[in-house]
Symmetry: D4
Subunit: 217 residues, 8 copies
C-alpha cells in the first residue's frame, strides 16, 4: 500500500491531516482527497495545480480550487462558527501566493482572517496605518521575502505571537528565501517563531491552534 492516511491525527491534534500535492500524481491526490472527504472532515490539498484540481473535482465535485493560494478545499459536513481571529500580513505583492495559502488554510479550519498586504518596512507609514486592525488578532502571520525584516517590526508592535514565513521572493543573494529565513530566525523581537520558506500552510495551522485556544468556546 503506497499511502497510509493518518486518520487519527484529528483525534490526537484536533486538526485533520492535510495532503501535500506537490509530490503526488493527480490520480493519487484525488483518491486520498475522496477518502478523506468521505469521513466528513474539512479536506485541504496544498501545492495543487489545475491538473490536480480536475482529478479531485471528478471524484469530489464539491471541492473548490483557490488558484492564488494553490489550494483545493472541501468544507467539512458539520460547519462550525469561526473561533479565533488571525491577521495575515505580507511585505510585497509578490508574497501573495504564500499569504493566501495561509489565509485559505486558516479559513478552512474556521478561523477569522484579516488580510493586510503590501506593508513592507521600506515604506513604514503603510504598516503604521493598519496598526489598529493588527491589534485585534489573536496571532499574526507575517510573510516576507528579500531581507525578511517585517516580522521584527511587527513583533515589537503587538502583544501576541508572530509566526514568520520567509518567502522565496527575491533574486541573487536572497538564495531562494534563505536570507529572509535567516533574518527571521535572528529576530530581536522575542515573540517571533519561524516556519520553512513559503510554508504558509504550517504557519496557519499553528496560528489556528493559538487562536482557538484563545477563544475556547
Amino acid at each position: 500500500e503506497e499511502a497510509r492516511i493518518d486518520h487519527h491525527r484529528l483525534l490526537r491534534t484536533g486538526l485533520p491531516e492535510v495532503i501535500y500535492a506537490a509530490g503526488k500524481t493527480p490520480a493519487q491526490t484525488a483518491n486520498i482527497f475522496a477518502t478523506m472527504a468521505a469521513t466528513g472532515t474539512a479536506v485541504l490539498a496544498t501545492r495543487a495545480t489545475q491538473a490536480h484540481y480536475e482529478a479531485v473535482a471528478a471524484l469530489t465535485p464539491t471541492a473548490v480550487y483557490q488558484a492564488t493560494a494553490r489550494c483545493i478545499t472541501q468544507q467539512p459536513t458539520q460547519h462550525s462558527a469561526p473561533k479565533g481571529h488571525i491577521a495575515v500580513l505580507c511585505a510585497g505583492t509578490s508574497d501573495l501566493p504564500v499569504a493566501e495559502e495561509a489565509a485559505v488554510t486558516a479559513e478552512l479550519f474556521a478561523c477569522k482572517v484579516t488580510r493586510l498586504y503590501d506593508v513592507g518596512v521600506a515604506g513604514l507609514p503603510r504598516l503604521l496605518a493598519v496598526r489598529p486592525q493588527l491589534m485585534e488578532a489573536d496571532c499574526v502571520i507575517v510573510c516576507a521575502g528579500m531581507e525578511g525584516a517585517l516580522p521584527s517590526v511587527v513583533g515589537g508592535l503587538v502583544a501576541v505571537p508572530v509566526i514568520a514565513v520567509p518567502t522565496s521572493v527575491g533574486y541573487g543573494a536572497s538564495f531562494g528565501g534563505t536570507s529572509a529565513l535567516l533574518g527571521m530566525l535572528n529576530s530581536c523581537s522575542p515573540n517571533v517563531t519561524v516556519v520553512n520558506i513559503d510554508n504558509g500552510f504550517g504557519a496557519a495551522y499553528t496560528a489556528t491552534m493559538i487562536a482557538r485556544a484563545t477563544h475556547p468556546r
Copy 2:
C-alpha cells in the same frame, strides 16, 4: 547615551524587555538591571556569567543567579499566580542549559513548567512513558541537538503548538546546531514552529504568551 531601555514594551506586548548579557560588560548589565528593577517588573538577564551576576547583585541584592540556565532573575514586586502551563522537553543531557533557559524564563513570567528531559527518539519508550504529562501542557517546547528529530515526533502526539529549539549539541556535520535547525524547519508535523539555535529564551517568551492566552483569567 549608549543604552535606551524600551520601557514601553511591557505596555505594547504584555511582557517586559529582557537583557541579553552576552555582548555587555558586567557594569553595563548591572546598570540596566537596576534601572529596570526599580520599576518593579520582573527582570531577566540571559547569557549571564558569574561575573555579570556579581556586578548585578551589588546593585540589586535580591537578584538570583541560575547557573545551568545562565540567567539572572529578579521577581516582580507584584507577584501574580501562575497562568498557563508549558512542558519543556529535551533529547539528551547535554541540552540542559538551553532547556533550563526556557524553563527559568517561563517561570519568571508566571507560567507553570513541567520538565521532561533526556527523552530522545533513539530510545522511544522514554518519550512514550511521559506522554500523559505531555498532554497537559498548553504549549510544548522541545530542545534537541544533533539531528533534531524530537519535535516532529512530539508534534504528532499533541494537540497544541510545539516550539522547537535546535541546540548546538553535536560535532562534525552538526555544524553548531545548523543540522538540527534545518531538520526542525522541515518538520512534517505542521504544529511545529522554530526559533534560533540555543534560543530557549525566545521559545519560552512565545510559549508563555500562548499559555496565558489559553487561561485568560
Copy 3:
C-alpha cells in the same frame, strides 16, 4: 575508447558493475548494457528514461523497464535462490522513486525485499504497526526527505544495520535533500550509516552484501 567496463568487479566484490544512465546517451547505454548482458550476469541501468529503455530493448529484448524505480533490469542467465532479506521503508508517498530504486536493485541481486511505505514519524502509530515485519530483516533501508528523522527512530527499534537514504523531497530549507542528509549523519542511533541523497541503488548494494553475509548458504 570512451567506456572501459570493469568486468573484474564481479570477481573482486561479488556483485557486477552497474550502469549509471543519467550521463549517457541511449545509444551508449544500450551498447554497454548489451556487452554486459552477453556475459550472462545480472545487468542494471539506474536513472534510465523511457528513451534509454527503448534503445536498450532494441539490442537486449529481454530487458525490463521499471518505471517508478527508473531502472532497466536484465535477469542473470543463472538464476539463484534469494539469499537474505531486507526491509525498505519510506516516510511519505513522494519518496517512492528512491525506495523503489533500492527495492528493484536488491531484488535483481537475489535478495528478498519487504516494502513498508508512508510510515513517517509525524504519525508514529503507522510505524509501530509494522514493527513485527521490520524485525525480520537482516538490514533495513530507510528513505526520507524533509527532516529525515525516520532512520533515528527505526535505528532504536532494530538490532541490525540501518542504511539511511536522504531524499530530495521537500522545498525551501530542505535544500534539495541536504537537510535530510545532515539529519541522518547526526543520528543519535549508532547503527545508522548514510548514502548520498536519492541514492537508493547504493543503499541496496550494501544492504545486499550484509544480507548475503548473514545467510551465507
Copy 4:
C-alpha cells in the same frame, strides 16, 4: 622589503592609506605609523590592540588610542575645518565597537558625526524619536547584527545614501554576521549599499567622501 606604503593614494583618492593592524606585529605597525606620520597626514590604524598602541606611542607620542573603536589615530599637521556631516546609528549596545570604528574614522577625516545608538527596530519609537537628527546628515551609516533590519527601515526615512554595516553580534544562525549581511544585501530600500561584516572603517571612508562632495567648500 616587506611593506610598500601607497603614499600616492592621498593624491589619487583624496584620503590617505590606512593601516590594518590585525595582521601585523606591534613593531611593524609602529614603523609604518611613524613613516606616515612623518609626512604630516592624518594617520589611522584600525583593529589595534593595546600592545599595538604601546609600540606606536613609543615612536609617535602624539598618537591617541580609542579603545572601544580599537583605533590609533594621529591628527594631521594641517587641521581642516569639518566638511560634511554624517549620522552613525546602531541597533543595540553590542554594536558599539563597530559604530565607534566608523565614527572615529570619519572624525579623523574631518567630518562631523552624530551618534544615534540602540535604536533597533523591535522598539520602533526609539528610532522615530531621533528622526529629526537623522534628517540632517549627508549620509547615514547603520550598524546592526542579528537580523540586520535597521538599514531598510532607515533607508525608507531619509533622502540620502545609507551605508549598511552588518555586525557579528548574535549567535547560532547569525553565523558571525552573515545573516545580517544577507538581509542588508536584499534590502528593499534602494538607497542602501553594504560593506563587509564589522567594517565600520570602510563605511566611514565612503560616507566621508559623500559628505565632502555634498559640501565642496
Copy 5:
C-alpha cells in the same frame, strides 16, 4: 487591496518608488505603472519582459521599453536638466544587461551617464585607456561577474565612491554571482560599497543621489 503604492517616497527620499515587475503579472504591472504615470513623476519598471511592456503600453502609450536593460520607462512631465555625472563600467560583454539596468535608471532620474564596457582586469591596458573618462564621474558603478576583481582596481584609481554590482555571469564555482559578491565585500579599496547580485537598479539609485548632492544646483 493587493498593492499600496508608496507615493510619499518621492517626498521622503527625493526619488519615486520603482516597480519590480519580476513578481507581478502584466496586468498588475500596467495598473501600477498607469497610476504612477498619472502623477507626472518619472516611472520605472525593472525586470520587465516584452509581455509586461505590451500591457503597460496599452494603458500608457508614451512608455518606452529598453530591451537589454529589461526596463520600461516613462519620462516625467517636468523635464529637468541632468544634474551630476556617473560612469558605469563592466568587466565583460556578458555583464551588459546589468550595466544597462544601471545606466537606464540613472538617465531616467536625470543623471549624465558614461558607459565604459568590457574593461576586465585580465587585460589591464583596456582599463588604463579609459582612465581619463573615469576621472570625470561623481560616482562610479562597476559591474563584474566571475571573480569580481574590477571594483578593487577601479577603487584604487578614483577619488569618488565606487558602487560594486556583482553579476551572475560565470559557471561552476561562481555560484550564480556569489563569488563575485564575496570578492567585492572583501575589497581592499575602502571606497567600495556593494549591492545585491545583478542589482544595477539599486546601484544607480544610490549613485544618482551622490551625483545630485555633488552638483546641488
Copy 6:
C-alpha cells in the same frame, strides 16, 4: 531526573547504550558509568578526557582509559570470544584518534580488529601492500581527512561493506572535515556508506553488527 539510561537498548539492538562524555561533567559521566557497570555489560564512554577518567575510576576502579582513542572502557563481566573480524584503515598519521576510537569500540564489543594505518592514496604502493590483510575482514572501516579519497579506492578492492569515516584532519578548504565527508558521500564505489565526521564510534558499532552477523556462532 536529568539522565534516563536506555537499559532496554541491549535487548532491542544487541549492543548496550554508550556514554557520549563530551557534553557531560566528570561527575555526571562517572555516575552513569557506574550505574551501567553495575549491570555487568560492557561500558564505553567516548570523547572522554583525563578528568572524566579520574572521576570514573574513583567509582569504577576497573575502568581503563585509552588515551589516543579518548575512550574509557569497562569489560563486561561475562567475557565472550571474539565473533567476526574488521579492518580499520586510515590515510595518514593524523587520523589516528578517530581510527583508534573505532578500533577500541569494536574490540570492547568482542570483534577482532586489524589496524592498517597511513595508507593514503598519494602513495598507492602502501595500500596495495596490505591488500591480503584487507581481504580477510568481514567489514572495513576507512578513516580519512583532506580529500577523503581512500574509501573509494578500498571499496573497489574488497567484497564487503566499507564504512567511511571522514576526519577533521586538514586545513583551509577542508572545512573541518566537510570536504572529506562530501567526497565519501559521492563515492563511485557502491559498497561505501558514511558516518559523521570523526565518528569512529558509530562506524565500529555498525561494523560490529555486520561482522557478528557474518559469524553467527
Copy 7:
C-alpha cells in the same frame, strides 16, 4: 563599443584571447570570431552551441565545430609543429565534454594530446593499465566528478604537474561539482593544482604553457 578584443594578449602571454560564447548572442560571437580570424591567429570559441556555430560559419567558413567539446575552432594561418605533450584523463564517460574541451584546446594550440578516458578509482586496474602512456606526458589533466579522487591517485604516480578539473557530473551531495572541487583542493598529492568546475579550457591553456616550456624548441 560593447566588446574590446584584447589583441595584445598574444604578445603578452604567448597565447591568443579566447571567446567565451556562453554569454553572447550568435551574432556577437560571429563578429568577434571573424575579427580575430582576420589576424591569422588560432581562434577558439568555447561553450558554443550549434546556433553559435552556424553564425560563425557564415562569416568564417573554415571554422570547425567540435560538438562533444562544444568548441568552434579555426586553425592559425601559420601552422606550427606540435611542441610538448599532455595527457587528458577522465574518471567516467559522463566527463567527456569537459575532457574534450581540454583536448581540443590543447590541440588547437599545437600540443600533442593523449586521451585516457573512463579510468576512475573504483576500478583501479584500468588506471594502472594506462600508466606507461601516462608517464610520457609533460603535464597531465585529470577530469573527474562525484568525489573527485582521481587526481590524488594520478598525482602520486607521475613526476609532472597534474591539473585537476572538477566536473559537474553527479547528483545530490555533489552540489554541481562542488564536492569534486573541494576534494581536489584538499589533495594530499602536492603536484596537483585546480581550476574551476568544468573548466577544461583553462586547464589546457596552462598545460600547454607547461608542455611548451618543457620543449622550448
Copy 8:
C-alpha cells in the same frame, strides 16, 4: 606501525615526501625527520612550531627553523645548483607566512626565488613597478587574501603559469580565505590554477616542477 614513509616518492615524482607537522607530536615529527635525513635527501617539515623544531634539532642538529615560514629544513647531502626561477608575490604584509612557506619550499628544492611582496591591486603602481622582475620567472606564485584579485591581474601580465594561493587573511565575509579561493577559481585569466587556502607548500612544489622542466639542464 603508525607511519609508513613513502620513500619511493622521490623516484616516482622527482621530489621527496614532505612532513606535515600540524597533526603530529614533536616526537613523531622528529623521528620521521631523522629517518628521512638519514637517506641524504632534502627534508622539509611544514606547519612546524618551535616545539617541533626543538625535538627535531635534538635528533638532527643540522636542521634549520625558518620561523615566518613555519618550516624546518635540512639541506640534501648532495647540493645541486639552482635550476629554474620562480617569483613569489603577495598582496599585503599579512600574507607573509604563506608566501614564505612557498619561498622556503622552492629554495630547498634548488629553485631560485624572487620575492615581490605587498603589491596588492588597490595600489596598482606598486605592481606595475615590479613588472620587469616578474617577467623573468618561469612560474609565478601569487598569495592573496580578502578578495584575492591579484592573480587575475598578474595572469594578464605574464606568459607563464600563475599558481594562485588564497590566504586566510581577512575577516567577516572572507570566511577564512574562502572568498579569496572562490575569486581565484573564477579568474578570467586562463593561465591561473589554484591550490588550497594557505597552501604555499603545494604551490611551490608544482612551481618547482615547472621551473625545472623549463631549464632541464
